[in-house]
Symmetry: C2
Subunit: 268 residues, 2 copies
């Protein structure tokens, strides 16, 4: 289904959705037209269609927002919903003890996408938000996912360019390679001031029943040496989530040694 200039209707619809951001979640049709480059008549017609199916809604003042129906259809059958539900009790436990920010991220394209974040008012600066993204080389969650991710993605990211956020961000291939080796060796990422000089990220891998890393569980705390005490908290929570992901009732006999489901400790 192509339009006169060869662009699909779907491509135009995606551009409209992309116009909405956490900072600008309500837009007029003319703002949507400007941001998408769509003619205002085209934008107006597509917005009307999207409103009629509930994928967008219109405020009393005619500004347009993302609709609940789109969220509902995107969420109710989302493959990661079971991961997120398995992780929540562990994340809440960490949050009770550590405070600050606790978050769960997955690999999406060449970035980390955050499925969930628990925060308290007044916590240390954190650029993460729910459904927000960060680059793989700079964030603790991203480094865990990259260290255990596909080799071709790793090689692509290592080639750069690698954005410098602070003087501690790994910005050369050699620096990033060393950081990734350390993440694999010690079993977690410890990132002191990589994204912001005042923040420190600690992330550990979450593995599925096959032992593949499917997510990273992380805390963001103030950048102070005493943060080291949080490492075992994050690691044990990530291990707990991994165990919870093993199908309940899977006999430990059928799991390979070293698997999170190998029965070498009590399942959570």
């Amino acid at each position: 289904m192509r339009t006169e200039n060869g662009e699909s209707v779907l491509a135009r619809i995606v551009r409209i959705f992309e116009a909405f951001t956490p900072e600008e979640s309500a837009l007029t049709v003319s703002a949507i037209s400007r941001r998408t480059g769509l003619h205002v008549a085209t934008a107006s017609r597509l917005v009307a269609e999207l409103v009629s199916c509930g994928f967008l809604t219109r405020d009393a003042d005619r500004r347009v927002r993302i609709g609940m129906r789109m969220w509902e259809l995107a969420t109710r059958a989302l493959p990661t919903l079971s991961l997120r539900n398995a992780a929540m009790p562990f994340m809440a436990g960490v949050h009770d003890v550590v405070g600050q920010h606790v978050q769960l991220g997955v690999l999406e394209g060449s970035e980390v996408l955050f499925l969930e974040r628990l925060s308290v008012p007044g916590a240390v600066i954190n650029y993460t938000s729910i459904a927000g993204r960060l680059p793989l080389h700079a964030s603790s969650s991203g480094l865990v996912l990259l260290a255990h991710g596909p080799a071709d993605l790793r090689e692509q990211v290592l080639k750069g360019p690698l954005k410098r956020y602070t003087s501690h961000t790994p910005v050369t291939g050699a620096q990033l390679r060393a950081v990734l080796a350390e993440v694999r060796r010690q079993g977690y990422a410890y990132c002191s001031g990589f994204v912001h000089q005042d923040a420190l990220g600690i992330a550990a891998p979450v593995r599925d029943a096959r032992g593949d890393v499917v997510a990273a569980l992380a805390v963001i705390v103030p950048n102070e040496p005493r943060a080291a005490a949080v490492v075992p908290v994050v690691r044990s929570a990530a291990r707990g989530v991994s165990r919870a992901l093993c199908a309940p009732g899977t006999p430990a006999l059928y799991a390979e040694p070293g698997d999170p489901c190998d029965g070498s400790a009590t399942a959570v």
Copy 2:
């Protein structure tokens, strides 16, 4: 942009998304074709387009799932995200003390749509899931939203038909009217066995800074008389969320008496 039979491309895309459910979150193209009534060639072409923009993904075994990109665009600018984030600490507190299920629902069309749910394994039966729906007349959250919702919606629901889940479900207009009056009078819904005979729902209204009811906070517990002790827990958490929704820093002087932001108690 109409197809040969007059249906819009968007309408077809929506039908494809609707084919996915929590129970069947991975479908083959032929299953999608069967469920949507779309010709398999049409379904195949639209699925390929949706995969290319990340709104759907394909498993290694070629089965199709909802894509993370759709969830990301639906969630990052969702108007209810701030409501959900404001509610989470209160919901977690209730969950710590009460256990079972704690959930947050909003009015969507003529049903309640659940934005969030916290549960423990082994909790009482509950038909709710995240991004799931329940009818307004039978669920405690729905009754709170209906009691405080638009008058025309209330009249429409009162006309019926009202599905009978158990012998306690209000199924006549007169029964429902009495329940709604009670919800308004006492400030919460107390629903003993309305959806399932073993479960009891208690829900209280969450109000925005203008005092409008924007959500219902509910617990689902075993259907026993001692559940009455949970009522003040739910009510105070819902009041707390309402206060948290008042713009931080809003001077109490500018709030009207009786508003959740009137400054008559310490803001949370």
